[in-house]
């Protein structure tokens, strides 16, 4: 069985590393890929990192993306435009949203179902 993938984007590599650990306590099988920090792992974001994360997270059921603040969003949108993957960036809070999305994905929900759940919950 394959699951909707999750991409966690943050200006800080540590935030998404910790967040992945938090989610992994609950959900093991759902693909979770990280795009934290700039290419040099400084505070910022990187479109290339996001593109790679989306590619790696995609197992055929699409990918949902979460970001922390403003400029991460622009890089995420560019990354999505550059790729063929079915990928949706949502406005839900990074930590709380991705936690819920991981549980939903683990229950076999489709990308659209998860995106709708995000809109309903947040």
């Amino acid at each position: 069985m394959s699951y909707v993938g999750i991409v966690l984007i943050s200006h800080s590599p540590k935030i998404v590393e910790g967040l992945k650990e938090l989610i992994r306590e609950v959900i093991q099988d759902v693909p979770i890929e990280l795009a934290g920090g700039t290419e040099e792992n400084e505070i910022g974001t990187s479109m290339e990192k996001i593109m790679k994360a989306v590619n790696d997270a995609d197992k055929g059921k699409g990918v949902i993306l979460f970001y922390d603040i403003g400029s991460a969003k622009m890089n995420a949108e560019m990354a999505i435009e550059m790729l063929e993957t079915e990928a949706i960036l949502v406005e839900a809070p990074l930590v709380e949203g991705s936690y819920v999305a991981a549980v939903e994905s683990g229950m076999g929900k489709s990308l659209m179902e998860i995106v709708n759940a995000m809109e309903k919950n947040f």
Partner: protein
Amino acid sequence: MELRVEDAIQWFTKVNEKIQENKDYLTSLDQVIGDSDHGINMARGFQEVENKLSTQEYQEVADVLKEVAMTLISKVGGASGPLFGTAFLKFSQAVKGINPVDYTSFTSGIEEALQGVMHRGKATTGEKTMIDVWAPVVHSFQEAHDFEDNPFLKVAKQAMEDTKDIMATKGRAAYFKGKSIGYIDPGAASTYLIFEALEEVIKGSK
């Protein structure tokens, strides 16, 4: 004047010089209403642009612009990366196959660049962003008829100064709400530098 490959390269070489010179100034603007990295971001991005432009060969202006765009997108790290990146990518697409770039095509190019920034930033004029410099410069190009007889730099300078009076509603400065008033927007200042460099290229080619 028409913009040739070597003019385009010279343009961004000059942009890089100005950004490096003004690195601390740009960062200091971003310190008041942002996260103190605009100078660092821009300096990192344009240094890499310079490294590319000084070593690669380009067929046409559009190729130079595309190189600038892709480098900024991947190297800047902050909001200004995707924004300037999108601007020069759209610019590049608009002038693709046109070499050298005549005045009318250049004007279409920066029109597209402005649209690109607005689309990427989901923003419009009056929000205290780089758009508040891009938009009046585009307007100046639309009104004028050639590169030389065109007050775009004066326009850009005034527009940059005028961002002081605006309350930010987009980008990090928006978090400061009313307290963002009284300061120049960092991205407006770097946009000004880009057009200052253009003016020098135009002057130099006379």
